[in-house]
Subunit: 554 residues, 2 copies
């Protein structure tokens, strides 16, 4: 309430959030014992703790999901809880959208909507979902402390003790960051846990940051998103992997790096102990990694290639292996992985030589997007790691190797590599005149086109045809020609000019396999350090324990 | 030890770091009771816990210093502890360099060396200090998880309990990030605390992350770095402040922002409740802030301008005021501020419309540096917040307002504003042909020139002459002309072409005070909402408690 004192100076309450929280807390006193809400009364509790219009963070990234809490939120009475402004790293589960259909929630800010991207686009068109903005993970976390400060956060942990201390185990991920935004701004922190225990293996988040604990009906959902079965790696991917190792990793002396998800980078991981070893590169490149515990990295780790790995999150089945390799992974006193998506994104942005990833569409200037017709899939972490961080000031050999000017103020550059086959499955061309994202932006009423990685941030593009060294291009036109030279029989590639390509090869803007000393016929599956999930298990000495869906493959 | 088993497969230890830590821990068993090292035996303990060549993080940023631990490190026997690779946010105290002179440490990676910048440059020239790299804070933190993983960290907290749980109070700053890098990679975490207590007001860092606690002889050093006495704000600074509010904040609709340290931005803070109010801007701009608790922001907060503030660290004397304004500041259950330098840097980079700061030198293209002849001062957080974060994907009105193209893939831009008088004290020109940093880089053997903010990241420059809207410049030449138009009688300004300046004013690339409807004669100290530290105390209702050195001024 605002009122005026006798001097006409405004007098106001400075504890509005505290007061509102106190009222909410008193409403659930009869429900909660200490901090614990009984499992079967969570819907009732949510109805008392969440007010109409509240900003609510619901945890769910591409791996861990607060699935019990999201299912419960979908059951609240829209007459009591409505018009919520949801903030979610990932829209992954059906109920994440059901809450909008039911009128509980109204607006969304998010990062990634892979599995639900079609429905998201449709619901926006139907006016059932009010779009906030699409973010890369790190900017979404930043906004939790600036203009998207939450009223309530719904998150997931493995275990809690009676004092509310939390154990997140290998999947710490973004839980501490989300909780911090609410706990220190008089928001309400509700945590679903797999179990309540007497004593925790270690404390990942202090109990004084937590308001309520609820034991979930079943453990939170966890996706094995970073597992690629080597069985499905093709010889084309092996060829591209060899080119990348020779023409990028070795050429620029890449020491620290991030690999995106996918068969292309899985191929590279499995070529290091074979092809990389033949080239004498062990101990010289690829030493410090920022990535999830990819099972396909096991052979490289076992062969002594890898000095360290910092992880965004965990990976199903890798728990025991990681715990047995503490010199490589970040682990806690209990032995298990400590991941941290926020810090890993900071490291991936600022402290690595290279980001390498894939995309669904690339235009003639190298702009790329994973948003294709009718799908609003978002970005995840790619934009954060896939750009040249202009705040970076330290140099490394790879970073300096990309200096193209002798200006006294010239600076190095981060390697941002796109690795794609010229066509997707079904013979759909990856290289296109214009991104679908442009029309998606129009339909969804976005202020800007959802580009995942901008062409002027991309330094290299690798296809089965060759490598385009885009960082050397002096003009947009030259960039276009270099891309066309490796774009195969796509709308862009068909425009390429043979003479021009020759010149670009001479100038080092384009390299074909033969320019790198690679014979296409050498790209065989026999080069893979592991050819199946079974091989990975063997490399791990039985420590890797693949989920059933991958087991069924061998 | 590496050996081969019968199948010629390499067998190696994967617990080298764990084993080394266990050995070190056993060596101090006789010294430490539980986790507590007696105050008078810390030097002995450091000699046993730190091995030659170790990577050691010593906490010390521009505010909080682990001063007891740094003084103790300077006392260890260089025969026992030597060749250390130090990692420090800030080189602030004399003993930070004494350890190099004494042969305890050899190499340094850092962010900022304000008070010691002259000595740093000299010691590098004399070969007494081996330079690593200069960083912005966030990239240094990132490297702690990639290629600068520490063996030992020496940090500071307010209080600890017997289980090692830590209370950092208002100055959480970067302590959790530093500790995380060591605690989860089998490094050793040593914390100096002001006192050991039975029960903590709140837990900022869990005890299971901490190895040793030592009660310091006296509380850690804490600098009142963000306090500017309004008494010293000049009318020129007020003029510049009015121009910034009118020609940048209002024009672009700036909602979220960071202010650097300095009298220029302090002037703006004190003009919001007067000049800003006259313009009817309250509730329309400057709502969400990322900055330390600047005392000069008190009048704007009290007048209802400020919705939220997230802080890098605390500020001496602001403790009670902050605790009484929880709707604005992030605070814990104990009532006191929760700062977090890492998260605040993320927010300042990605989630704000604008960064505004100052510099000592700006060249003809807008490149700026705080490194001047003979001084290797480093960067702090400026490069991180003073650049266009190309990973950003969400839009805000201010960000969109800087779009200058109608390309379908055009994106917005962060406002990066430099606000400088054309001359420093002693009539030294700020605008120069070439940055001193170029020769400093040569002398110190740096791989790149230590530029603080690059010209192509700067969107606006404000001087007492006017504003240059550099983001509108279509070429380097146009950028140079726009800068010259507002550079006064400096080497750059004297080259300006009057006709050209007229054209730039018409095209909106340059604005003089009259173009913004500001009369120079209106820029009076009477416009400041507070004219002294005493006024600030009054605005705060007696809650602000300035340090003695500022009290002595009134």
């Amino acid at each position: 309430m605002v009122y005026f004192d006798t001097n006409q100076k405004t007098v106001r309450s400075w504890t509005k959030r505290q007061d509102e929280k106190a009222i909410k807390m008193s409403k659930v006193e009869h429900l909660a014992k200490n901090r614990a809400i009984p499992t079967d009364r969570i819907v009732e509790a949510l109805e008392l703790l969440i007010s109409p219009g509240d900003r609510v963070v619901l945890e769910g990234n591409n791996q861990k999901q607060a699935s019990f809490l999201s299912a419960s939120l979908a059951e609240v009475d829209p007459g009591k809880v409505n018009q919520l402004h949801m903030i979610m790293s990932s829209i992954s589960r059906p109920e994440h959208l059901d809450i909008f259909e039911r009128g509980v929630a109204e607006k969304i800010d998010f990062s990634y909507a892979g599995p639900q991207s079609l429905r998201v686009a449709q619901m926006i068109e139907d006016g059932m979902l009010k779009m906030g903005e699409i973010h890369t993970y790190l900017e979404l976390y930043g906004r939790l402390f600036v203009d998207l400060i939450p009223n309530v956060v719904l998150v997931a942990a493995d275990k809690a003790d009676i004092n509310g201390n939390l154990y997140t185990g290998p999947n710490t991920e973004e839980t501490p960051t989300i909780i911090e935004a609410a706990a220190f701004k008089d928001g309400i922190v509700i945590v679903q846990v797999n179990e309540l225990v007497e004593e925790l293996p270690r404390v990942d988040i202090p109990g004084s940051w937590v308001d309520f604990i609820v034991e979930a009906q079943k453990p939170y959902q966890l996706e094995a998103l970073f597992t690629r079965d080597p069985k499905h790696i093709t010889e084309l991917q092996i060829l591209m992997g060899m080119m990348a190792i020779r023409g990028i990793y070795e050429k620029h002396n890449v020491q620290s790096l991030n690999h995106g998800i996918g068969f292309n980078t899985a191929a590279i991981e499995l070529l290091l102990p074979t092809y990389g070893e033949q080239l004498g590169l062990k101990g010289k490149i690829c030493k410090n990694w920022v990535l999830n515990p990819h099972p396909t990295l096991i052979p490289a780790i076992e062969s002594g290639w890898v000095e360290s790995i910092h992880c965004f999150g965990g990976e199903v089945g890798m728990e025991q292996y990681v715990a047995a390799r503490p010199d490589v992974f970040f682990t806690g006193r209990d032995g298990s992985l400590r991941s941290n998506r926020t810090l890993s994104q900071v490291a991936g942005q600022y402290a690595t030589d290279m980001f390498i990833g894939s995309s669904l569409q690339i235009d003639q200037f190298g702009n790329s997007s994973a948003v294709t017709s009718g799908r609003l899939s978002g970005f995840g972490g790619a934009p954060n790691m896939g750009h040249d961080p202009r705040g970076r000031r330290h140099s490394t050999p790879a970073w300096l190797d990309l200096v193209t000017s002798d200006d006294q103020l010239a600076r190095g550059r981060k390697l941002v590599v796109q690795m794609v086959e010229t066509h997707q499955a079904g013979n759909v061309p990856v290289f296109v005149e214009s991104l679908d994202a442009i029309s998606v932006a129009r339909t969804a009423g976005l202020s800007t086109t959802p580009v995942m990685i901008y062409g002027d941030d991309v330094t290299h593009v690798v296809t089965e045809e060759g490598i385009a060294y885009l960082y050397k291009a002096q003009s947009l036109e030259e960039r276009r020609h270099a891309l066309a030279a490796i774009a195969g029989v796509t709308p862009i590639g068909m425009k390429h000019d043979t003479k021009r390509t020759e010149k670009l090869r001479q100038d080092g803007l384009v390299a074909l396999p033969e320019d790198l000393g690679i014979r296409r016929t050498d790209a065989k599956r026999t080069l893979l350090a592991a050819k199946s999930v079974e091989d990975l298990v063997e490399w791990s000495g039985g420590l890797y324990n693949p989920p059933d869906k991958f087991r069924s493959c061998y």
